[in-house]
Amino acid sequence: MNKNRQIEIWVGLFMALGFVALFFLAMQVSNLGTAYKGKTFTVTARFDNIGGLKVRAPVKIAGVEVGRVAGIHYDPDDFRAVVDMAIQAQYLNRIPEDSFAKILTAGLLGEQYIGLDPGGSEDMLADGGEISVTQSALVLEEVVGQFIFGKGQEGAK
């Protein structure tokens, strides 16, 4: 085998290895392999306080991830936060309209996510639907503040 051919083979191998590595990083290491694209529908919910909720946080029903938070913005008309959720298309018209949306925390210090408790209504959520019953995030400072305030009230009695 001549020298030129050897170099060609080695360079080819190098390129292939490099692209395999990039593919591995994309599919196995990052979320690209598990991401679902295009096949989602949007549901919105309004919260008094979203705490530390971030875009791309999971949306779960019974602990199973069914979608992700697609966008968060503030509505100055009713002073509340509007959260857009992208739910997987397979659950279109499968989530009751009177479901309860809560902002929960995974573990004591974990990431915040949205938990949906299915309601009993016959009407199902369609694309662009809105969940009206919501519960805000638990903000630690407020809870501690209430606790101390409560203690103070007790002491005053």
Partner: protein
């Protein structure tokens, strides 16, 4: 006293002139892309000596860095009961920082120094002037293929480094220390975003490849054509490349993840 001041001034002016020459060299290097398209063989040969010959050091370094990250991460995370985040920690630090930066540093030491010495020796033995005498532009014929080979090689090497690092972390974490396999990979996939982390890491390594190869080629082309001059230029390549990579890494990180 005035002598000292004059020396200081000459040092500053020389530095500025060198910086200017380095930037002036960029234009013929980029224009050399045309001659590479006409003769891709030139690029192929350089990809071999710049890229393929660097694979071994990248492989070994990546594997061991990943294994060390696995061990160190485990000891710290297990204190807080967070061993399941080991995969995320290993992958995030590799893909975002260690992969591109360590690859660029190793590349500067392994390939950059070789490039400078080769080009410097070509200049010292008047091969570059010989090419010019034959009406061949040495900047297009000799420098440009090496330049583009470096820019192509570093991102691929960095991806290889990150992949082997993750494999090393997985070997230590999953194999030796018994971290749950599902949690290891799942935590990684949940926490690492393709466009935010992987693509930004690739962009970083392209920038590092550009800077390292540019410095190496310029130092070789600009060296004093004596054996001492070549040796000094080689040293400067490694020092300047390393400093440039570390400094640029801070700037890029602040821009991308800030």
């Amino acid at each position: 006293m005035t002598h000292l001041l004059a020396q200081l001034g000459a040092w500053g002016l020389n530095g500025m002139a060198r910086l200017g020459r380095a930037h002036l060299l960029l234009l013929p290097l980029l224009r050399g892309l045309l001659s590479i398209l006409r003769r891709p063989r030139l690029l192929l040969d350089q990809l071999y000596s710049v890229g393929v010959l660097t694979i071994l050091i990248i492989t070994v370094a990546g594997l061991f860095v990943g294994m060390v990250l696995g061990l160190q991460g485990y000891y710290i995370l297990s204190r807080f009961g967070g061993e399941t985040a080991l995969g995320l920690m290993v992958a995030a630090s590799l893909v975002r920082e260690l992969g591109p930066v360590l690859t660029a540093l190793l590349f500067a030491g392994r390939a950059g120094s070789a490039l400078t010495a080769e080009i410097g020796l070509m200049k010292a033995t008047e091969q570059l002037s010989g090419l010019e005498m034959m009406a061949v532009n040495p900047q297009h014929r000799v420098l440009a293929p090496r330049f583009f080979a470096g820019i192509i090689s570093v991102p691929l090497l960095a991806a290889l480094f990150s992949m082997l690092g993750v494999a090393g972390g997985w070997m230590v974490g999953g194999g030796l220390l018994g971290v749950d396999q599902g949690a290891f990979w799942n935590g990684m996939q949940e926490g690492i975003d393709f466009s935010d982390d992987v693509i930004n890491g690739v962009i970083k390594s392209v920038v590092f490849g550009f800077v390292c190869t540019w410095i190496a080629i310029f130092q070789g082309y600009d060296c004093v054509p004596t054996s001492e001059g070549v040796s000094r230029a080689t040293t400067r390549t490694v020092v300047h490349s390393s400093l440039a990579v570390l400094g640029l890494d801070f700037v890029l990180t602040a821009m991308m993840f800030g």
